[in-house]
């Protein structure tokens, strides 16, 4: 971990973000909606470098829920990338993919989850899975590098094959906890 970084991010040697990108490509994902998170930084760079992917930076995560429903109406497969705090911004909008039977895979980097330093991240981080499930989202977790590809792959397949919101939660144990230099 880079102790001077403002936000936590995976070790440079960790290649699971690249494997997530490979999984998105295998599923022919062309719309990537996101509010940035440091845990997703490497994946976002890969998506931005891919001319076959339309990366849309949102002002709030719920925009991405609506956008991907629209994309599906037009035949495009998409994914929503966000931090756990963003899940709270999506709650009512998640009624759209439920009502309209639209695939909505989300890949969520967790905060307030494992070794958190910032008290403000804990309320939403603790509620993330419960909130998603309360809105009808199927949730799977990855807490080790070996979990990432199967969990993300399963999350994408569940969404696109069964037409519903799904979420892969990437645990803070996987990503590393931000310490503000206090470790």
């Amino acid at each position: 971990m880079d102790r001077d970084a403002l936000e936590m991010r995976p070790d440079a040697a960790a290649d699971w973000p690249d494997r997530i990108y490979d999984t998105l490509k295998a599923q022919a994902v062309t719309q990537v909606a996101l509010v940035p998170d440091a845990g997703h930084a490497r994946l976002i760079r890969r998506c931005l470098a891919d001319p076959a992917m339309r990366v849309v930076t949102l002002t709030t995560e719920e925009e991405g829920v609506a956008m991907l429903v629209g994309g599906w109406l037009g035949g495009a497969k998409g994914v929503l990338l966000m931090q756990s705090s963003g899940v709270g911004n999506c709650i009512n909008m998640l009624s759209l993919p439920v009502l309209h039977r639209a695939p909505l895979p989300m890949i969520v980097t967790m905060r307030g989850d494992y070794g958190e330093f910032n008290p403000a991240q804990v309320p939403m981080g603790s509620a993330t899975q419960a909130v998603l499930e309360a809105m009808g989202t199927l949730v799977r977790r990855a807490d080790t590098p070996g979990d990432v590809v199967p969990v993300v792959d399963a999350t994408l397949r569940l969404a696109f094959n069964t037409y519903r919101p799904t979420a892969a939660l990437l645990g803070q144990r996987l990503i590393g906890a931000k310490t503000f230099g206090k470790d």
Partner: protein, 200 residues
């Protein structure tokens, strides 16, 4: 609101905008806008919303990006647009040339008892859209402006945003189908053909 021009009737405006619509894809925000597009004629390329308040413009963006060769029109109300103003920034940055967003602005939440919205108190949605960077922003007050707006929706080469000031008051309900899965499937089939139901 300009007081010297008779306020437009929302059903007349929507009928005018959807005249000779060709293969125009239409998303309508929840409430009166959805009833309006249905009153003009329910069809497979209509996507009327029953919920997701604040999301109509973003549905339009996702659709416009997925179908760059089709024209996409979002028709929504001032209350619905106010709930998702960030979408104007997101749309401006993406700048899809085939997307138009038209706000029917009666300055009230007409579905919930006619409470005033922020536009009643001077909030200028056209200025906000222009400030976001949307290329073609218009304020429409007169009936003679509806035809040109309709034509621009079919010809614009930059995202278009228009606020049409309309009269307050509710029309008889003309409800679209309520089953969301049906609305999705019929829309996708109209856009993608029968293969839509086998997409992997």
């Amino acid at each position: 609101m300009a007081t010297d021009i008779p306020a437009l009737d929302r059903r007349d405006v929507v009928r005018g905008l959807l005249e000779d619509r060709g293969n125009l894809l239409v998303v309508a925000g929840l409430g009166a806008s959805a009833w309006d597009i249905t009153a003009a004629g329910d069809c497979a390329t209509n996507f009327p919303l029953w919920g997701g308040m604040g999301g109509a413009a973003m549905i339009g963006l996702g659709l416009a990006l997925a179908q760059p060769d089709r024209r996409v029109l979002v028709i929504t109300g001032d209350g619905e647009m106010l709930m998702g103003l960030g979408a104007l920034c997101t749309i401006a940055v993406q700048s899809p040339p085939n997307l138009a967003v038209v706000v029917l602005d009666n300055e009230h939440y007409s579905e919930t008892g006619g409470q005033e919205t922020a536009t009643r108190h001077g909030v200028d949605l056209v200025a906000i859209a222009r400030g976001a960077g949307i290329g073609d922003c218009r304020a429409v007050h007169g009936a003679q402006e509806i035809g040109p707006l309709r034509n621009a929706i079919h010809a614009t080469t930059a995202p278009l945003f228009a606020v049409v000031k309309i009269a307050t008051g509710n029309h008889p309900l003309v409800l679209p189908p309520r089953e969301g899965a049906f609305l999705t499937a019929r829309f996708r089939e109209a856009v993608l053909g029968p293969a839509a139901h086998h997409q992997l």
